[in-house]
Amino acid sequence: MPAININFIGPWRVLLGARTVTVKVESIDEARNYVETNFGPVFEKKIKSMGVGKKQSIWDNSNILLNGKNIKLHEQITFKDGDKLDLLPKVAGG
């Protein structure tokens, strides 16, 4: 199974308390599961501390770049060793 780096960009880094994790996953679905399972509770705790009641998904609130290039969330992709997946919060403004 390929090892890929998942990078939490900008605000995600602060909210989830991690900059990069290396994980062994083959597909986008597996990457999603990994992120939601391992960081979902961190995110939930953080947003509760901000007084927000609504449950939020990390993945659904992210734009994803694979090796710096845009991918669609529904795209079927098979990873290879060393791939870099950037999660950017789906926000913009300024």
């Binding site: 960009i9 900008g10 605000p11 880094r13 602060v14 909210l15 947003i47 901000m50 007084g51 927000v52 009641g53 609504k54 939020q56 609130n61 734009n63 770049l65 710096g68 290039k69 845009n70 950037d86 950017l88 919060p89 789906k90 926000v91 913009a92 403004g93 300024g94």
Partner: protein, 615 residues
């Protein structure tokens, strides 16, 4: 007249006369408030011959409809004038507290006319206004000016909108500053205020706003407040503010670097919102009525410039006075530059872009130390950038050249016009159309010139779209953007008129309830969006009246040169496809650029169709 006080203040500075005039009810119903309503008043008052710095050019300041109410994030107010910078229609809007306090002071707007022979300021409290001497304030920076006026009234809740030395010195992109660092930033509204010798407008009051159904309004605004507070965008903006976008801008190639010629400077991450939150932030603060609290309070304990408590710079300033000049700056310098620009009181986008263009010309060998007064403008020279900020604020030396902006600089140095990255004379904000093709259409068609607030289509292309607005999110490099941009512009013109912040996503049903409960109207979302469209088309008509034509709706060549190996991946917007589609949807004439007679009439503006000679 519910939702409004029903009066505006007319200040004739030439003879020192203040009068109250009834608010034009039809204009209010059709254009609602803030920049929309201000532009409609302006339409009747200026033409091609009006000298922007002459007594006949009015400066019109207006709160958004919901300013001063208990609605969420309803702080935005605006102004309009004939721009001394671009020579045609100019507007700007801002957050903070001035708009709400102006409404509390009992007015729906202020129109400054004429010219005072000596420096003055205007003080308004609870429906009464007076002109006061400002000789002791002239020459002071925007921070000192605000402090002194608050001190004069021993009231920290007096809200002051003022100019700094830049606008006194008639820097064409001088701005109007309020609540310390929050400005009507673009198009030179401050310069017009300076030409009238009005140093400041101070407002305070507790005048009750008439409302059709106050209880229903409270109920709707309570629900809307919860929605805004719990939104994902709100949460992220609360954490990292607008500077939080920097890291994404690096990934997407959205932050122009080395004057639009290089991939976004990765070192900009050092001044990002995430970095600010981790290392420098001690507190956050908010504009009027806003649960998001995206404004950062920083403490800078290391670097050349130290601050115990200072408001953090916004994204636009950090990039314009950073990567655009190739500056690898630390937080201390970024804050210092922001404070410098704010104290002088000038637009950080146009000034940063003009300084960056000078760096570009210097590095091409087009200009030298002979032109710059000895400054070596090699990419990344921070000391030179700081000196340029001083010179711009004082409108002297090489800074006086930069104060004219990039369009005039290209002319002065015999450069191709497509090298000056602006449209209609106004420089691009820090969102690159090669990263988001929709921004190409937005910049090309915005009435005042390149304007990222009408609309922030890069948000949509990043997946941030109002769930009730029928706009499809497509690939950021797709060329199917025209319809989405039209809808987004109409919506943004509406929210600006209402005074709602772009970061507050309020469900349409709650928005309608708030508006109807406030005004007593029986409006619908379709009608409100039509008001947004009407406002946009009227502002376009005003641009055309002041000399803009279809040929001005173009992107400069430098900003559409591909940059491979960047977050832009070498993409450039296909304007040849998108612009004609946009024109067809807007129903604009291909040569004159004017909205058609049919279009203006369908939006209930037959008088503008006649005045404009629309076909």
């Amino acid at each position: 007249m519910n939702g409004y006080h029903g009066k505006i203040l007319i200040a004739d500075l030439t003879n020192g006369k203040l009068t109250d005039e009834p608010l034009n009810e039809k204009y209010a119903r059709d254009f609602i408030g803030s920049t929309g309503l201000a532009a409609r008043y302006l339409y009747d008052m200026v033409d091609e011959k009006t000298d922007p710095l002459g007594p006949d050019n009015p400066l019109i300041l207006m709160p958004g409809l919901l300013n001063g109410t208990s609605g969420p994030s309803v702080s935005r107010w605006g102004g309009a004038t004939k721009s001394p910078y671009t020579g045609h229609y100019g507007d700007a809007n801002a957050g903070a507290w001035f708009g709400a306090e102006l409404k509390n002071a009992g007015y729906d707007g202020i129109i400054l006319k004429g010219k005072s022979s000596k420096p003055v300021y205007i003080y308004i409290k609870d429906g009464k206004a007076e002109i006061k001497d400002a000789g002791h304030l002239w020459g002071k920076d925007t921070y000192k000016t605000q402090e002194e006026i608050k001190k004069e009234y021993s009231d920290n809740r007096v809200q002051v909108a003022c100019i700094g030395p830049a606008s006194e010195n008639l820097v064409p992109y001088g701005n109007i500053m309020s609540e310390y660092g929050h400005c009507l930033g673009r198009a030179g509204l401050g310069c017009v205020m300076g030409s009238k010798k009005v140093k400041a407008i101070a407002v305070r009051g507790k005048t009750k706003l008439p409302m059709a159904d106050p209880e229903k309004f409270r109920e709707a605004s309570r629900k809307a407040m919860t929605e805004v507070k719990e939104g994902f965008l709100s949460m992220i903006m609360h954490q990292t503010g607008t500077a939080g976008w920097i890291d994404s801008a690096i990934s997407y190639g959205d932050g122009p670097t080395n004057y639009y010629t290089a991939p976004t400077l990765p070192e900009s991450s050092k001044i990002s919102g995430a970095e600010q939150l981790e290392k420098y932030q001690t507190d956050s603060t908010a504009c009027y009525g806003c649960p998001i609290r995206c404004r950062k309070i920083l403490q800078i304990k290391e670097g050349k410039h130290l601050y115990d408590r200072v408001e953090g710079p916004e994204y636009e300033t950090l990039m314009a006075w950073g990567a655009l000049m190739g500056l690898d700056i630390d937080m201390s310098t970024a804050v210092y530059l922001n404070e410098l620009c704010n104290a002088y009181g000038f637009d950080t986008i146009s000034s940063g872009a003009s300084a960056a263009y000078a760096f570009y010309l210097y590095n091409l060998g087009v200009i030298s130390e002979k032109d710059t007064g000895g400054l070596k403008l090699t990419w990344g020279n921070i000391d030179a950038a700081i000196e340029l900020a001083h010179q711009i604020g004082q409108n002297k030396g090489f800074g006086a050249v930069l104060a004219g902006g990039t369009k005039k600089m290209a002319q002065k140095y015999g450069r191709p016009s497509g090298e000056a990255v602006q449209t209609k004379g106004l420089e691009f904000p820090m969102h690159d159309p090669r990263a988001y093709h929709s921004m190409g259409i937005v910049y090309a068609t915005a009435p005042r010139g390149a304007d990222h607030n009408k609309n922030d289509a890069y948000q949509v292309d990043s997946g941030v779209v109002h769930p009730d607005l029928d706009v499809e999110v497509t690939d950021r490099w797709a060329d199917d953007k025209a319809i989405g941009v039209v809808k987004g512009q109409n919506f943004r013109n509406l929210t600006d008129s209402l005074g709602i912040c772009h970061f507050a996503i309020i469900p349409f049903n709650m928005l309608i309830d708030m508006i109807n409960a406030s005004t007593g109207w029986n409006t619908t979302m379709d009608e409100l969006l039509k008001a947004g469209e009407r406002t946009f088309q009227m502002q376009r008509a005003l641009s055309c009246k002041l000399g803009i034509t279809a040929k001005d709706d173009e992107l400069p060549e430098l900003a559409v040169r591909p940059i491979p190996n960047s977050g832009q991946e070498g993409h450039v917007p296909n304007m040849g496809k998108m612009l004609p589609e946009y024109y067809a949807i807007r129903d604009w004439d291909k040569l004159s650029g004017k909205p058609s007679k049919k279009c203006l009439e369908s939006l209930d503006m037959p008088e503008i169709a006649v005045d404009l000679g629309a076909k």
